[in-house]
């Protein structure tokens, strides 16, 4: 009988330094021709484990058995030789090259490039699995999902039989996700074995044959997907029963708080509009969700309101009290800040905006208060220190102390500091972007509760998010951006994910 397993991991342990154990005695198997989902919260060691299969890390202990033979995978090249290909979360592509050039990059062959033959062989591959790919298109003109397609084709072109996908759907719309899943099913039919790393339960239930769950670096167990439910998987993932309902209250005392009219913003090089004709109203006591594929103007919209972004034309009105009206478009960023309009933008690298990596928690709190205090010469450090302590206590930030530079904190904790600081000031308008990016379930719900508290206190909350399920559960209304335009504002209580997905692609059903 042929080998049943494509990959077997036996008692694999990986440590980083003395204290941090990323993977502790993990054993799991990938059957040939199946789709195995690896489920776990952030920091549970999913990516580390897979990086050991793709040759980026080397296990400290344990065995990796590929197709029945023990394997030593010391470099990405060793992994290629074993026909293991990994598609990373951050694409490794050369922007100015075409898809075809990226696909053959690093491969041996005749020095003269016969692009015609290369193109033909790529097209043969894309037709077989149903990919949608133009080999001669330059990467920088492509959308995120098209880039992902290039990455997958690149791995297949190298003859991979075992594919590992790290959070492949994080950047895709629901429609694009469906397309990806179709391709994955085609690959499975062709006998490829696939591992998909994710923390989205509904996707696990939809695509996988079996699920292996990791928690805090430990292997918890594997179940057949047909026997699993969202609740049972969450329990395995978190280790306790968690209620996945967000306590959404009916908005009270609703009145306009922030009004944006005809906002236009040009891109940095001035060639195109990143925001066109944006008009909407955010109300007090309400959470307004902002959905859209990342890079469709979310950042510019929030920054325009915070007056960090030059705007081409448009009006922004702020109603702090009923009846009073302040125009914001002629104000400066610090004046807007004084009025109680706060923004917490969590960028992909978390530290890029809002926090200074080499400063400690107290100093980062001071970024908002350095010009307050009675002494005209020296800054007031006491109040920020107290605030820092409060944020640390309330949000359960794991840190050695208030004097630790924030760059030494883990991503989730950095984020708590950032969001905590903005909420602590009791803002009238709170704008958050990707507030739970990279947080585990418990911390995420802690942040959702904080947003809900703000809503109850009568703030207008604007929340840019990427997880549509959460937006639908958390928000009162959802504004959808597509290509810098508002493609729709829907009621979150009655809308569906499919509806949002269609709006996100510009209101048109994808061909």
């Amino acid at each position: 009988m042929a080998q049943e397993y494509a990959i077997e991991l036996k008692n694999v342990t990986k440590r980083f330094g003395e204290k941090v154990i990323a993977n502790d005695n993990v054993s799991l198997n990938l059957r040939k021709g199946e789709i195995l989902a690896i489920l776990g919260e952030n920091g549970s060691g999913k990516t580390t484990l897979m990086n050991m299969l793709s040759g980026i890390y080397f296990p400290d202990e344990g065995q990796i058995i590929v197709n029945g033979q023990e394997a030593l995978i010391r470099s990405p090249k060793d992994a290629f030789d074993l026909k293991i290909g990994m598609i990373h979360q951050h694409f490794k592509l050369i922007e100015i090259m075409t898809a075809a050039q990226n696909i053959i990059l690093g491969l041996k062959g005749p020095n003269h490039l016969d692009m015609k033959a290369i193109r033909a062989s790529i097209e043969e591959l894309t037709n077989r699995y149903g990919f949608d790919l133009e080999p001669d298109r330059k990467i920088y003109t492509m959308s995120v999902s098209q880039k992902q397609t290039v990455e997958i084709v690149k791995v297949l072109y190298r003859g991979a039989d075992i594919l590992i996908l790290d959070e492949p759907t994080a950047v895709l719309t629901p429609q694009e996700t469906e397309k990806l899943f179709d391709v994955l099913r085609n690959m499975k039919k062709a006998g490829k074995s696939i591992i998909i790393i994710t923390h989205k339960l509904n996707e696990v239930l939809e695509i996988s044959d079996r699920v292996s769950v990791l928690r805090k670096g430990r292997y918890i167990g594997t179940v057949d997907t047909c026997d699993a439910t969202a609740e049972s998987l969450t329990e395995m993932m978190v280790g306790e029963k968690v209620t996945l309902d967000i306590d959404r209250t009916e908005p009270v005392d609703v009145r306009p708080c922030l009004e944006v009219k005809g906002l236009n913003v040009k891109s940095a090089d001035g060639t195109r509009n990143v925001l066109s004709d944006i008009t909407f109203t955010a109300n007090t006591g309400e959470i307004l969700g902002i959905a859209g594929i990342s890079g469709n103007g979310q950042k510019e919209l929030l920054e325009s309101i915070a007056r960090l972004q030059e705007m081409e034309s448009g009006e922004i009105k702020f109603y702090p009290e009923p009846g009073s009206c302040i125009t914001l478009e002629d104000k400066k960023a610090d004046e807007v800040l004084q009025m109680g309009i706060r923004m917490a933008f969590v960028p992909e690298d978390r530290l890029g905006m809002g926090l200074v990596a080499s400063m400690d928690i107290t100093d980062n709190m001071m970024l908002r208060s350095y010009n307050k205090g009675d002494n005209p010469v020296f800054t007031d450090r006491k109040t920020p220190r107290e605030l820092a302590q409060r944020v640390v206590d309330k949000l359960e930030v794991v840190t050695p102390g208030l004097t630790t530079p924030v760059r030494r904190l883990s991503g989730g904790n950095v984020q708590k500091v950032l969001v905590g600081r903005e909420i602590a000031s009791g803002p009238k308008v709170l704008m958050v972007a990707y507030p739970v990016r990279g947080l585990d379930i418990n911390s995420s719900y802690a942040i959702y509760n904080l947003l809900n508290d703000q809503k109850k206190k009568g703030s207008a909350v604007l929340c840019v998010g990427e997880d549509l399920d959460v937006l639908l559960d958390l928000c009162d209304r959802i504004l959808v951006l597509a290509g810098g335009r508002i493609s729709g504002i829907v009621d979150a209580r009655t809308s569906t994910k499919e509806e949002l997905g269609i709006l996100m692609t510009g209101g048109k059903e994808e061909a």
Partner: protein, 326 residues
């Protein structure tokens, strides 16, 4: 007619030095190394070639031009290889700051050349006494018969071997970058070393080889200046700012050696234009000499305005690569 002919020939004479330097720098920059040491390396290549020829002619009773050419070419390549090696070891292996190393190398190369230029002048019996006539005659030999054709022959076939070599090298480099796997990998290294590394390309090897080849090509520019342009002699600092013009030409050529051929001709023409404009005062001459730099700035403005990614410098230009820093 004769003025025009002299102008074109003069422009080509100036341009070839710059073309060598620019082609060499393009090869280097494609790998992500911004080698500002190119002017110094061109100095080193020039003086080394001259010394090779000088000692060969001094040590042989009846020096043969071909042998002189060979010896000086080899010493020139060896010295520029050495310059490139200093740069590569410091920036690639030791990951020192590329700008600092480059500028230091230019200062070093200029000093190196002036020191040895002074030394062999002394051996030769005084400033301006160096003469490697037979070697220089080999470099300056024109294409027989063809150069005799009136006008066309004077414009196209009236130059020494290095002139044609410069153009051939530029064309070959262009073809390698655009049409071969080696070129594809080189561009990948300069754009995103991490991506190239993950694809199994040896990043450091590409950086070393590109920088060393680039330095040797640039060094030939110094050799051309000493042997063909000056006719086999030396004057301290005589090379002037041609090295920096080469670096500027890289930008004008948008990192494409084929464009550098035309750009070098343009720079060469602008460089000597002041001689052909009658009645210029000394101050105005200097203004006209600024034209090549002005053109570079205009091109920079235009290309950054168009913002086409292919026309931008290699994305990781000036950055050193360290795998564990991902």
């Amino acid at each position: 007619m004769n003025v025009l002919l002299a102008f074109i020939q003069g422009a080509i004479g100036q341009g070839i030095t710059i073309l060598f330097g620019a082609t060499g720098e393009i090869v280097t920059e494609k790998s992500g190394n911004l080698n500002l040491g190119i002017p110094g390396i061109m100095y080193m290549g020039g003086i080394a070639g001259l010394m090779g020829a000088f000692f060969y002619e001094k040590g042989t009773a009846s020096p043969s031009p071909a042998m002189g050419l060979l010896v000086s070419m080899l010493t020139c390549l060896a010295a520029s290889f050495l310059g490139g090696l200093i740069y590569s070891v410091l920036t690639v292996t030791l990951r020192a700051n590329q700008n600092v190393v480059g500028l230091a190398l230019t200062t070093f190369g200029t000093g190196f050349a002036n020191f040895f230029g002074g030394s062999i002048s002394k051996i030769a019996g005084g400033v301006g006494q160096i003469s490697v006539a037979s070697t220089a005659s080999a470099y300056r030999a024109k294409i027989p018969v063809l150069s005799g054709i009136p006008f066309v022959g004077k414009i196209l076939f009236n130059y020494g071997i290095l002139t044609y070599l410069a153009i051939i090298i530029s064309v070959i480099v262009t073809l390698v970058i655009l049409r071969t796997r080696t070129g594809l990998h080189l561009v990948a290294v300069g754009e995103s070393p991490a991506t190239a590394d993950a694809a199994g390309i040896n990043v450091n090897r590409y950086k070393y080889v590109a920088t060393l080849c680039g330095s040797m090509i640039a060094g030939l520019g110094g050799l051309y200046f000493v042997m063909d342009y000056l006719g086999g002699t030396w004057s301290n600092n005589g090379f002037g700012d041609r090295g920096w013009l080469a670096v500027a030409l890289v930008i004008l050529a948008l990192w494409n050696p084929a464009n550098a051929i035309w750009g070098a001709l343009l720079f060469g023409a602008l460089y000597i234009l002041y001689i052909y404009i009658p009645g210029l005062s000394r101050a105005n001459q200097e203004l006209v000499k600024m034209l090549p730099y002005l053109v570079t700035i205009i091109v920079l403005v235009l290309t950054s305005k168009r913002n086409k990614p292919e026309n931008q410098p290699p994305a990781s230009l000036g950055l050193s690569y360290f795998r564990e820093e991902r």
